[in-house]
Symmetry: C2
Amino acid sequence: MTYELYYWPGIQGRGEFVRLALEYAAAPYLDVARASGSEDAAVAAMMRFLEGRDTMYPPFAPPFLKAADLVIGQTANILLFLGTRHPIAPDDEAGRLWTHQLQLTVADFAAEIHDTHHPVASSLYYEEQKPEAQRRACDFRQNRLPKYLGYFERVLENNPGGDRHLTGKAVSYVDLSMFQLIAGLRYAFPRAMSRLEDRYPRLVALHDRIRELPPIAAYLSSERRLPFNQQDLFRHYEELDPQS
Amino acid sequence: MTYELYYWPGIQGRGEFVRLALEYAAAPYLDVARASGSEDAAVAAMMRFLEGRDTMYPPFAPPFLKAADLVIGQTANILLFLGTRHPIAPDDEAGRLWTHQLQLTVADFAAEIHDTHHPVASSLYYEEQKPEAQRRACDFRQNRLPKYLGYFERVLENNPGGDRHLTGKAVSYVDLSMFQLIAGLRYAFPRAMSRLEDRYPRLVALHDRIRELPPIAAYLSSERRLPFNQQDLFRHYEELDPQS
C-alpha cells in the first residue's frame, strides 16, 4: 500500500513532521501536492476531502494521510497511527502514550512558533500585524522558547533509555520532529538560538545525529525536501529576532 | 484503582474536559487540587511532577492524570487513554483515531478561544494586551468561530452513526467536550453566539442532550463543578463581544 499525504504545496509546514517519519520508515508515499501535474489540481483534490465530498470523516485542516480506507487528520494523530505500523515508536502502551504526549507538546510549540508572526489572524498578512508580532515574539524569545527547549532537554536527560533519544532506546517520530523544530528555529530565530543553544547540548546533539541518519540525510539532500521559506511555519524576520 | 487528576485549583480550564469524561464514566478519581487540605499543597504536589521530581516522564503542563504507575499528560492524550478503559469512545482502530482527531481539533479550538483574551502572552494580564485582544477576538468572531462550529456541525451531519453524536452511535468523550465548548462559548461570547447559534442546530441539540444525561446533570449541579470565571479559559469581556 502506498500512503497518500495531502498538504499545501510549496511549504514544509506541519506536513514536514509526517514526511520525516515516512522517509525514515522508508514507507511508500505519494506527496499529492508535489506528485500531481499541477498545484491547482492537488489543492482541489485536498479540498474535496476537507469539504467532505471524498470522505465522511473530513479533516479540519491539512495535513492528512490516506491509508487505504482510512483518512487520518491532525499531525500528531497521523504519527500515532504510523507508529503502530512502522518501527518509529515504542510498542508498549506506556511508551506509545508518552511518545504521543511529547508529540502533542511539539505541536503546541509549533503553534506558538507560528503565532510569533501571526498573533492576530492567520488570514491576515504578517505586514498587517507587525506591532503585535513584535510583542508576541519578544515574549516567545524570552519565556516560551527557553521553557520548551529546557523541557525537552530535561526529557532527554531523564529518558531511562538514554539521552540519545527522547523516548525509548531507538529513534522515534518525536526525535525526527525535534530535529525539524531545532532546524526551523535556527532558520527563524538565528540570533536567539545562538544565544541559547549552549544550554541545551543534548537537543543540539540529537538534531545533529538525526540529520546524519542515512534515510534522513538522503531526504534532506533530495528535491523532496523543500527549503525553509517566508510563507511557511518558520519565518525569519529581522525585527522578530533582534541582536539581544 | 482511583485516578488522580492534577490541575490548577479554581478554574475549569482544560481539566474540565477530563473531569466530564471521568464523571460520565463514573470512574473513581481524586481531583487533587480540590481534595487537598490547601490549594498551596495541591499546587506543590503538581509542581513536583512538572519538575520531574515525582516522575521520569514529566508533563509540560497540567492537566495530567495519574493512573497507577502511568502519568499521562496532554488533555487529548488523557482522553485517548480513558477511551481504552471506559466505554466513552469507539473501540475499533478507525473509530478511536477519528474520535481522537476530533478531540485534537477541539484542543486547537480551545487554544484559539484562550488566545482571544491572551494574544500576546499568557504571562501578561489581559489588561496588558487589550488592543491586541480586540483585533484577535474580532477575527475569531468573524472567521474562526463560524469555521469551527460549521465544521463540527458537518461532522454531526455526516456521522454514519447518526447526528446525535459526533462519532459512532453512543456518547463519547468528544461529545462531552463539545458540550463544554458550547457552554463556555455562551459564557464568553453570548452576543456572538446568539447571532450564530441558529446555524448549528445539531450542535445546540447535542449540548442540550449532554447537559441532561444523568451523570452529567448530577455533576453540573454538584460543588465539584466550578462556575465559569474570569481567570479561566473562557472569559467574558464586553469589548471582545460587541453588539454586532
